[in-house]
């Protein structure tokens, strides 16, 4: 089973990387970009019987730092 874990900074947490990328986009002449947030995509290939609780635990314990990050688990198939 293929899983994608999307990790993103929580709303309200300052994202210096996103701000720098935003600035760079403007520098390239792209207008109308309101905001940029940089996150992380982690792809996992796990046994088909891996439960949701185990996936959550993986995110909570290692893949995301829940002090500053949210995560979203997507089952790709």
């Amino acid at each position: 089973m293929k899983i994608r874990v999307h990790v993103s900074l929580k709303p309200g947490v300052l994202d210096p990387q996103g701000r720098a990328v935003h600035h760079a986009l403007e520098g390239l002449g792209f207008s109308g970009v309101e905001d940029v947030r940089v996150g992380r995509l982690i792809e996992l290939d796990v046994a088909d019987d891996t439960g949701d609780a185990a996936l959550d635990e993986m995110c909570e314990k290692l893949l995301a730092n829940t002090v500053i990050e949210n995560y979203r688990i997507e089952k790709v198939g």
Binding site: V13, L14, P16, A20, K61, V67, I68
Partner: protein
């Protein structure tokens, strides 16, 4: 009984030797060097230091991999039993990732790696690590980091400040840290994490000796205990 300290080395640690030299300079006894893959810490440790560096190449997040390495389970148990633990720079990142200290260390607000000596103010001089300083004293300690931007939510920050757990603040905020925080203590006061490097300020040849009092006070207090 002789003072026993341990310095933990992870793959990618690069301040472990400096830390060991600082501890030996003050205590007269070379600390035990412990490798990250070791399952157990030596018995009867008086002091544990997590050094700076780039453990595991900062994969995933700074300190995240090291926080889950085998030796950290032992470090957590010792910390819970009251053994003093000092985490500097990457060591601070490891302590937050391991849940031994609150908050997280994010990319510097400027996006730049910062490597220079900065002024810190001593906010709490009642802890084992800071009692050698005066409250409000300004000390000069080098920083060298890319991810030193301390973040915690407002409630956590209020609690830390209310409980006197902010050990050091930057006199001039160099990295975007919330409320200028440079170092924090755990609730029991036996775990200190800080981004600046006191072990790089213990010899006149370093350009300053303001870090010496941190080691002297902690080690003297432990040796007398």
């Amino acid at each position: 009984m002789a003072f026993r300290a341990a310095v933990i080395t992870f793959p990618g640690s690069n301040c472990d030797r400096d830390m060991a030299v600082a501890i030996e300079k003050v205590s007269g006894i070379a600390p035990i060097r412990v490798w990250h893959g070791d399952a157990h810490l030596p018995e009867d440790l008086d002091f544990i230091a997590l050094p700076g560096g780039f453990s595991y190449g900062d994969y995933l997040r700074s300190g995240a991999m090291a926080a889950n390495s085998p030796i950290m389970r032992s470090v957590k148990r010792r910390a819970e039993r009251g053994v003093p633990v000092l985490g500097v720079c990457n060591g601070f990142q490891v302590l937050t990732e391991a849940g031994l200290l609150p908050g997280a260390l994010m990319r510097n607000a400027s996006q730049n790696f910062i490597c220079r000596t900065v002024a810190l103010s001593v906010e709490n001089n009642q802890s084992l690590f800071t009692a050698g300083y005066d409250s409000g004293q300004t000390i000069d300690i080098p920083v060298a980091h890319h991810d030193g931007n301390y973040f915690a939510d407002d409630n956590t920050l209020d609690r830390l400040e209310g409980d006197g757990r902010v050990a050091f603040r930057y006199v001039e905020n160099c990295n975007g840290s919330r409320r200028d925080i440079a170092g924090v203590l755990n609730a029991a006061g036996n775990v200190l994490g800080m981004m600046p490097h006191p072990e790089r300020a213990v010899d006149p040849a370093h350009g300053g000796t303001d870090g010496l009092a941190l080691f002297e006070n902690a080690i003297k207090a432990l040796a007398e205990a």
